[in-house]
Symmetry: C2
Subunit: 294 residues, 2 copies
């Protein structure tokens, strides 16, 4: 019997699932990071290791890896020549390397038309209507990723400095942020100069916490993020019967704050990204159907 592999590789870990040709998962494996942009050989090693562990978990012989087809969802596939470099050294029989967002979309929507919004440290939006795919947003927190946690955190630090200068009103939230920096706005500036997006993102949960307490600055920062997210969703021109799945670390926090027009479209994801990769592999290489969506 032919087997297929689904692989979901990210900056912190790589997961693999071994499945039958019709997409029934037989075993799973997990290994270290698979970041093809920063460590191509390390990524290849962890991808193969996760696959090997999935074979072992399924009670199958990992020696079959070179006879197995795989769908891989990875970050960085749209940048430079990383994708082709990886394809050249992968050990699978046939490999399809796609973006991490695409396998997440296929997992979340299943066979439904609609879109995903991945709202974590960054933000990216992807829709599928029949065979038509569209991806917008992303681009990193410096000039993009609007509505993501890093932008929310950066916005909060800016509001705290504006409040300190009496340019905008202060609130319990800006007071709490300033106290976090020992009352010294220069410490905020130092933090901002030294911080990565994820560091800014650590301030996003405070915004949601203070919104629940009626804080005006928190409400303003959140309203800006929600407006940015909805402008991106609007650009996808979804119809009311299509699905909208929120994914990423802030999905559960953002969901309740979306406008009434998007509330009825919200659905829980059918499967996670790894499930999406398996489903794509079964459709493309197995017996699960015509590869309509790859």
């Amino acid at each position: 019997m032919d087997l297929v592999l689904g692989i979901d590789g990210g900056g912190t870990s790589c997961r693999a699932a071994l499945a039958t040709a019709s997409g029934v998962v037989l075993g799973r494996g997990k290994s270290g990071p698979a970041n093809i942009m920063t460590d191509l050989q390390g990524a290849r090693h962890n991808i193969v290791d996760a696959a090997r562990l999935a074979f072992v978990d399924a009670g199958r012989d990992p020696a079959l890896i070179p006879e197995t087809d795989a769908v891989l969802g990875l970050a960085g596939t749209n940048v430079g020549g990383y994708k082709q470099q990886l394809l050249d050294i992968l050990p699978f029989r046939r490999s399809l390397v796609e973006s991490d967002a695409l396998i997440a979309l296929n997992g979340a929507l299943g066979d439904h038309d609609g879109a995903i919004a991945i709202i974590g440290t960054g933000s990216i939006f992807m829709s599928r209507k029949g065979k038509a795919m569209q991806t917008i947003g992303g681009w990193g927190f410096m000039v993009g990723d609007l509505g993501g946690g890093a932008r929310i955190g950066r916005d909060l630090l800016q509001e705290t400095l504006l409040a300190h200068d009496d340019i905008h009103p202060a609130s319990a939230l800006t007071q709490a942020v300033l106290e976090h920096f020992e009352g010294d706005p220069r410490e905020i500036v130092k933090f901002a100069a030294a911080s990565k997006p994820a560091d800014f993102g650590t301030f996003a949960p405070m915004v949601f916490e203070y919104v629940a307490q009626g804080d005006a600055v928190a409400a303003k920062v959140l309203a800006r993020a929600v407006a940015d997210i909805e402008e991106a969703l609007d650009a996808l021109k979804l119809s009311p019967d299509q699905w909208l799945c929120l994914l990423g670390g802030l999905a559960a926090l953002i969901g309740p704050h979306l406008s009434a027009r998007y509330q009825p479209m919200l659905h829980a994801p059918e499967q996670d990204a790894l499930g999406g990769a398996v489903a794509m592999a079964a459709k493309l290489f197995g017996t699960a159907g015509v590869p309509a969506h790859v």
Copy 2:
């Protein structure tokens, strides 16, 4: 006859003026950068060198430096212990080290009450009403410096990406920016990730150029910058009879776009920052009057 020195030190050069006790300039000198945060000894060297050249220019003996009082305006005086470290090694008889903004304010306003807005790569606002001084803004472009050139440039790059994604409308300006990056939005992301504030600031002049041509995106980006600047000015609570001097690289471009309520308050600076340092030195150490504003 007693002499006084005014010194204006910055990241690219240091200028000195030697003046009589009543503030009449006798000679000037210019040397290299005086950045006390990155190179204290180098800053000290260039400060003394500029002073020495001012003595020579005035036909006076530089050996008089240790008998001369000086007012120095320098960046970085509010950070860490740099100011005290510099004071410990300066060769002048008495030294007053103040911020670069304060000498600029004293030069621009002369004896008038009012404020300066320094709009260059960054933005900072400073008012003086009698003896009451207030400084707001600054804080760097990541979480502050609203309305400055770096923020205008960053905002323009973001609008270009939003237009590329059909989230916001495109315009001749966003087309021109995208063409600058060879039509590839990923090049904008790369630029943003690698750029310093001044690099973002290089895009600010395009905004003013396209505003003059009626470009809608340019108008929106400029309107945001003007609104941010006026929010800061509003916080200074100036009265209509007080002076407002715009300084910095974007002053001449921003001025005409300020609201009607600020137009009558705009005045050309009486003197530059070096003139402000000389005036302060003559008042504090010379015979030009009681040191009302230092």
